[in-house]
């Protein structure tokens, strides 16, 4: 890997035309803040957050449906921690008072369900290409194994369609820090069609400070070139993980999905295939994207059109303890990352 001092020097001394670069992945958003990278950027480089924080892009109707399930007697919703605090149309899962179990991996639902065979467990399946294979494993286990009382509410999404949407809408972006974890599954070529179509560089980056700096310096170097560069080769193999992709392919099929603030994007959602659809807890037809607070601009932040400080609610009505929009909930959300820094 490139020497960190050299990378830092190259980034800090950039004096070309102004660049707007997007970090797609929420983990990158968090790591960029943690490493103080904004303090190293010259005024000509603007880093904007993208739609790659899974809880941030989950729409209110998905949350509302989960709340309804969690409040039904004999039913429990199982989820990762962050999702509990995402606002639905009026309340969040944690505020609604239903039964919600927090876990650290999709597979954790199995022992819970086994212990309480008379309770229906619904896993709130949010995530991207990274997490989809684990959900696929869970689905196969439910199909073949003994546990019968678990279903999934799928709000799974894929990256290329949403990036295409941002670019086709004429967003002024000069390159992408491509998500490292997603690329572990998909391999290097995943973003190549987009790179070629829009003549932009995509640089796959790791999550350590020096890896992000190195990736940024490659992004600068490759300006205007339709390339994908793997700057995370110690983890991302060129071919990705074919087994994980085969799992996704076997269990899920693509369909339209609504993203918070972006509306419906064709082919950007993952839904259970016919064979497994009896395990679906109501993932289809989710369309409503209601704002808890009408002043919230999460939709503009998720698309790189605005920054957290542009929001009138930021730091006043909206804080990590009182999130009005999804970007303030997770550490991976742009507003949460900006809060206090």
């Amino acid at each position: 890997m490139m020497d960190v001092n050299k990378a830092r020097q190259r980034v800090m001394s950039y004096d070309g035309p102004p660049l707007t670069l997007m970090e797609v992945c929420g983990s990158h958003t968090a790591a960029i803040r943690k490493n103080g990278i904004p303090s190293l950027l010259p005024p000509t480089i603007r880093l904007v957050h993208g739609p790659g924080c899974p809880v941030c892009v989950t729409v209110s109707e998905a949350i509302d449906r989960l709340i309804a399930l969690s409040c039904k007697s004999g039913t429990a919703v199982v989820t990762f921690g962050d999702l509990m605090h995402v606002p639905g149309s009026s309340l969040s899962l944690s505020e609604a008072g239903g039964r919600v179990e927090m876990v650290y991996s999709p597979m954790d639902v199995l022992p819970l369900a086994e212990k309480e065979p008379d309770t229906d467990f619904v896993f709130a399946a949010v995530g991207f290409e990274t997490t989809a294979p684990v959900y696929a494993l869970l689905v196969k286990e439910l199909f073949e194994g003994r546990v019968r009382n678990v279903k999934l509410l799928c709000a799974l999404k894929t990256m290329p369609p949403v990036i295409e949407r941002l670019l086709s809408e004429g967003g002024k972006l000069d390159g992408f820090l491509a998500p490292g974890h997603v690329s572990v599954v998909t391999g290097e070529d995943y973003f190549l069609p987009l790179a070629r179509k829009y003549a932009l560089p995509f640089v796959i980056s790791g999550f350590a400070g020096e890896e992000i700096l190195a990736a940024l310096s490659v992004l600068i170097e490759k300006q205007g070139k339709p390339v994908v560069v793997n700057a995370y080769p110690r983890v991302v193999r060129p071919e990705g993980n074919p087994n994980a992709r085969a799992l996704i392919e076997e269990v899920f099929e693509a369909g339209p999905a609504v993203w918070r603030g972006l509306g419906e994007i064709g082919g950007s959602g993952l839904y259970l295939r016919e064979k497994y659809r009896y395990l679906d807890a109501g993932s289809f037809g989710i369309t409503e994207d209601h704002k808890k607070n009408p002043l919230c601009i999460c939709h503009r932040i998720l698309t790189g059109k605005a920054e957290p400080l542009d929001c009138p609610l930021f730091g006043t009505a909206c804080t990590p303890l009182t999130p009005q929009g999804s970007c303030m909930v997770s550490e991976e959300g742009g507003c949460h990352a900006c809060y206090g820094s």
């Binding site: 962050d82 999702l83 650290y104 809060y339």
Partner: protein
């Protein structure tokens, strides 16, 4: 099979069963001349300025690698007294026991309080026990009294430009140990719960002018430095490259998306001292019990907006902020 002997409602009656509990467990472990008086209030010698503090302990599980709620309840209050510059002297202990606490667990906890008190040089001079319905839980309140030596004044307002600060050891150990237990994650992480009496008294004995001291508990170092910067209206700069974090805690925290800077300890402190005394203070702390991993980790700047910053490993700067919310694990 007979159930293991445990605490029942009757042990809180104030009658003979309570008496038995006191004699069997509390008096046996915590015996000293003041407690032995068994009066409604204890009279102790002392004069001059006193430091007072109180803290309640509600940790689950009650016993964990590296300690238990008893050790925690003594070390926590002792360390709070030390942070004010006082010499800890007397503690009181109030127990709220839920029905079902096994006597064996209670004995372990009380015996560990006694050991920790001996180590810290304090006497537990008064106590109380209540029994409530429940599922075998236990809550302990300890209050403490320390004597303040003449002229000793510690606090944020004493910070000066150029002062340096030291961290007495690895960050996040207690937090990671408790969380590992709750999540049934097997690892070798142990709580660092410990009284820092020896470390602190040696610093003063060696003539170190400790300007300010804080024990690094809930909220972690990030919260403490943010608060001290705000209270002193000075810039505080922490160097990430010098942060002491054990490999086990680093990887555990990485897995859950937690930041050791906002994780709690129960036997670590940050000490602010004049720049010229930094190296000497470091040597004293490193040769004290619980101080072998100590580092010099940053410095104090001029008066301004009162913010704390981290100089990151790659040379970036970011503002440190107090812990927000509960520190939830990340999801992907």
């Amino acid at each position: 099979m007979e159930a293991e002997p445990h605490v029942k409602k009757i042990h809180g009656s104030g009658g003979t069963a309570t008496q038995e509990l006191i004699e069997e467990i509390f008096s046996r472990e915590l015996d000293n001349e003041y407690l032995a008086e068994m009066e409604d209030a204890t009279a102790v010698p002392g004069n001059g300025r006193l430091a007072l503090t109180t803290d309640s302990f509600v940790v689950t599980p009650l016993l964990f690698p590296g300690g238990d709620i008893g050790r925690l309840s003594v070390a926590g209050t002792v360390n709070d007294l030390l942070c004010r510059g006082s010499v800890p002297k007397y503690l009181t202990a109030g127990f709220i026991l839920e029905e079902g606490v096994p006597f064996s667990v209670l004995k372990t906890v009380v015996s560990s309080m006694a050991a920790c008190a001996r180590e810290a040089g304090v006497l537990i001079v008064a106590g109380d026990t209540k029994v409530v319905e429940g599922k075998g839980g236990m809550y302990i309140n300890t209050a403490g009294v320390g004597f303040l030596p003449e002229g000793r004044e510690l606090g944020a307002k004493r910070l000066r430009a150029g002062d340096v600060f030291l961290i007495s050891g690895n960050l996040g150990d207690h937090h990671a140990a408790i969380l590992s237990q709750r999540l049934s994650v097997e690892n070798e992480i142990k709580s660092d719960a410990a009284p820092l009496t020896e470390m602190v008294s040696r610093l003063f004995d060696e003539g170190i002018d400790v300007r300010c001291m804080r024990d690094i508990t809930r909220g972690g170092l990030s919260t403490i430095l943010s608060e001290l910067a705000a209270a002193s209206k000075r810039t505080i700069l922490l160097r990430e490259a010098d942060l002491p974090v054990s490999e086990a805690v680093r990887s555990f925290a990485g897995l859950l998306g937690l930041d050791p800077l906002t994780m709690g300890n129960e036997g670590k402190a940050v000490f602010f001292v004049p720049e010229e005394q930094g190296e000497k203070a470091l040597a004293v702390i490193r040769s004290s019990a619980y101080g072998k991993d100590a580092v010099l980790a940053g410095s104090v700047g001029e008066e301004d907006e009162g913010r704390a910053y981290l100089l990151t490993g790659i040379g970036g700067m970011r503002r440190l902020s107090p812990l927000q919310g509960e520190g939830l694990p990340r999801i992907c």
